[in-house]
Amino acid sequence: MVGQPLLEVQNLKLAFGGHLALADVSFELFPEEILGLIGPNGAGKTSVLNSITMFYHPQEGKISFKGKEITGLRPHQIARIGIARTFQHIELFSGLTVLQNLMVGRHVRMKSGPLASSLFFGKARREEIRHREMVEDIIDLLELEAIRDKLVGSLPYGQRKRVDLGRALAMEPELLLLDEPLAGMNVEEKEDMVRFIMDIFELKKVSVILVEHDMGVVMDIVNRLVVLDFGSKIAEGRPGEIKNNETVIRAYLGSSEA
């Protein structure tokens, strides 16, 4: 966990016209670490994720990944360098099957050009088989076998979130940004999802930034926490320290489920 940070966010400022979404946010993420990003609704957590993936363009500030600056890159370039994310509202292709969606996630790793792929000889074919193997490993890890051939649009919410996670994994990321992966799930689904996240963390050794509201889960699984409120970082530290932090408790205004 020590050594060079994997991700450095420095003095991030993001404004939409008059509204300041992020004001001078800075933090670091180290390799093989789960960082929790928490705060009341509207604090700017998703804005941070969107800034990292360059979906939003911060007015000020610098973001570096593995020592190199990535501010100013386009989202597809961010995907190529090893950063993947899940979406709060699940951005999957509802007309495609689970398997197809996961294969789409392999897109960044596909080397064969359009011509080679359409002719599908030798090298392209072997590559496709390798991708399929990788995707099947993910299906096995996330227990998606039974719904492999189902259209994503026909799946219940909890299963779609799992597929979204699988799609992000298919990109073989070094950094995984999870945007409220447990939202809208019942106790059993949450337990399964947490188990998957921990399995992924242990097996693939990815670093994770977890945006989540379920304090019980967050306190349990993260190594460190960054707390936002109204676009500013109000606290940073280990779960034990944050639990008793006055500023944090006040920010949540009595909803201290910690």
Binding site: E136, D137, E145, V187, R195
Partner: protein
């Protein structure tokens, strides 16, 4: 070499004879992986030598807990090759139960499938000091586990391999030391009454019962069997394990519990075993899909099914089928029935078995009408296989005639008595209880029934479950229960009645999926099972279903009142056994208030039920339950 008398000896013979033929398949990562008899041999040999090296002695027991995978079969052969016995534990047992089974059977090793099962073992490990090793085979989630008790199957096989290189023919010697009276498996009986008992079944017992099966329905190496019934169940031992070793058919393993039906279709399985619940749920699914489908499809189905039923009935009575009907039957097959079978994955099914608790004759007739060769068998962990339907004599009401070598008779009270050379040899550590089961050399099955003119056995109910109504009339609650479950809207039902009252009543668990769908079609809004079950429209729906069955019952056995339960009967709360049989006495005691209310003339009752959540927390739920007259 002498003629084989143990399963491992038959196994070696198969490996020599079949070598490169496929013995098993497993669907892994979307692809069907194959194991030849040679592959099977290598793994069994290495696993067996590993166990011996770790201290497994002849007569020792090895427990297994997990979903059906090839590893379980390898383990069983490996253990038996070394002269040990396999103890199967149901995969949904909790750590307390695991501890009980392991300790009662004195198991010194346990094979636990994956993280879920390993966690249970580790939780109870301090109370199971005799365990030498816990072997797992699905490493997902176990990468960081450090416990010295654990070892992966990969490591175990590697250790066994190195041992086999040092002692080249040791495995063959182990196998040849096997005797017919070695205990092969320990099966814990279902425990509907009191704690489960450990029935010990010898090699000879397994082999003779498996032979019985083959004689009724000859199998061969070209047959495909899908293994998903737990090895803790006697049927999987007889049909799956012993059956595959004796007949050489291919054992296929599904990808996961949820994909079983899909896998059956992909394989074109030719031999299957489903419990009556599973056949019921297939039937229920068909019925509910028909309810949901277009007008045209409904009409076609309702035309073809009666034709199928008529033909099945005539065939049973060995009467001639007229040309007109033959044509209609051909048409029905072509229009609907054959596709229905294909859709269910049963197109290549040569024989489908059912057993375990009473089956509604309507279910048997239904599947025969659709063209599925479904047969009843009767037996138990203790008795082995007793009766089975032969081709051409599949009468829906009966369980068939006794197998060759098996004798069946009735006691004065109507209890079924059995003499079977293939039966179990005793209860482990409980000789007294076992001796109590015998009277004049006959084994008392505990089941009530009778034998008809053609020698077919009809099993009515457990002796202990028979109830008397007022005026001393005996009645069997299972009889109407089984028929009521034929309705797609009724998932589970408990029929009650005793001498204090003159008529039976029932407590119904509605089928949430099907009733929910019905409610949606009829624009009835609902939230939970508790809410849906008390809606007046739903009560009326269930009332009509019960009324339909009532008509077929003799007058004194007709149900008079019923109520819909606000929560389902649950095995985790010990209301059902792990094989989903009702634990009648327990339920009658637990819901005494409800039962009294049924007879008291009240219209409704406020109930507080205590619930146990999956993670062990407890809660209570208060609800008003309505009582209705049929």
């Amino acid at each position: 070499m002498a003629a084989p008398q143990t399963l491992p000896q038959f196994f070696l013979e198969n490996c020599r004879r079949y070598g490169d033929r496929i013995a098993m398949r497993e669907k892994d990562r979307g692809v069907w992986k194959r194991y030849t008899w040679r592959d099977y041999y290598e793994r069994v040999k290495n696993l067996s030598l590993f166990l011996v090296k770790m201290g497994l002695g002849r007569g020792d027991k090895v427990a297994v807990i997990g979903e059906n995978t090839p590893e379980i079969y390898w383990t069983e052969m490996a253990v038996q090759a070394a002269g040990g016995a396999l103890v199967g534990i149901f995969s949904d047992c909790n750590p307390e139960e695991v501890k009980f089974f392991v300790n009662h059977a004195d198991a010194t090793f346990i094979f636990a499938h994956d993280q879920e099962q390993v966690d249970k073992v580790l939780e109870a490990k301090d109370d199971m000091p005799q365990l030498k090793k816990a072997v797992y085979w699905d490493p997902k989630g176990l990468w960081n586990y450090q416990d010295p008790l654990l070892i992966s199957i990969e490591e175990a096989l590697a250790l066994g391999l190195s041992y086999s290189e040092e002692h080249p023919d040791y495995f063959e010697k182990l196998v040849s030391d096997g005797r017919a009276d070695d205990i092969a498996v320990i099966i814990f009986t279902s425990g509907t009454t009191g704690r489960p008992k450990a029935a010990m079944i010898s090699q000879a017992g397994l082999i003779s019962s498996a032979r019985g099966f083959s004689e009724v329905d000859g199998y061969g190496p070209q047959d495909n069997y899908l293994s998903f019934v737990p090895v803790a169940w006697i049927t999987e031992q007889l049909l799956g394990v012993a059956g595959s070793i004796l007949s050489g058919f291919v054992v296929n393993f599904p990808e996961s519990a949820e994909t079983v039906n899909e896998n059956i279709r992909e394989l074109g399985a030719s031999i299957l075993f489903f419990s009556p619940r599973q056949w019921e749920s297939i039937n229920r699914m068909i019925q509910s899909k028909i309810l949901d489908t277009s007008w045209l499809k409904k009409k076609v189905y309702h035309f073809c099914l009666p034709v199928g039923l008529k033909v099945a009935d005539l065939r049973l009575e060995r009467k001639n089928i007229g040309t007109g009907l033959k044509f209609l039957h051909w048409l029905s097959q072509w229009l609907a029935l054959r596709n229905l079978r294909d859709n269910l994955g049963l197109k290549f099914l040569r024989v489908g078995y059912t057993a375990g608790s009473a089956v509604s004759p309507d279910i048997l007739r239904f599947f025969q009408a659709v063209g599925v060769n479904i047969k009843q068998i009767y037996g138990s962990s203790e008795m082995g296989l007793v009766t089975a339907h032969r081709d051409g004599e599949i009468r829906p009401e009966t369980s068939g005639r006794p197998l060759p070598g098996v004798e069946v008779s009735l006691s004065e009270e109507g209890e079924i008595l059995v003499k079977n050379p293939g039966m179990c040899v005793g209860y482990y550590k409980d000789d007294q209880a076992f001796a109590r089961k015998f009277r004049d050399g006959w084994y008392c099955s505990g089941d009530y029934g009778y034998i008809d003119e053609e020698g077919h056995l009809i099993v009515v109910d457990r002796m202990d479950d028979l109830r008397s109504l007022g005026r001393g009339r005996k009645f069997s609650p299972q009889y109407p229960e089984v028929r009521l479950r034929f309705s797609p809207y009724i998932k589970e039902v408990l029929v009650v009645g005793d001498e204090k009252h003159n008529y039976p009543c029932c407590l119904v668990n509605i089928d949430l999926d099907n009733v929910g769908r019905w409610a949606e079609t009829n624009r009835i809004a609902y939230t939970t099972l508790a809410d849906l079950s008390q809606k007046p429209e739903v009560l009326e729906l269930i009332r009509k279903e019960i009324w339909k069955i009532n008509k077929t019952l003799p007058e004194e056995a007709r149900l008079v009142k019923f109520l819909n339960m606000v929560k389902e009967f649950d095995a985790d709360e010990a209301e059902l056994t792990r094989t989903r049989k009702l634990r009648r006495s327990f339920l009658e005691e637990r819901y005494r208030e409800l039962i009294e209310a049924l007879y008291s003339g009240q219209d409704e009752l406020e109930v507080k039920t205590s619930i146990e959540y999956r993670d062990g927390r407890k809660g209570t739920m208060t609800r008003r339950v309505k009582i209705c007259t049929i």
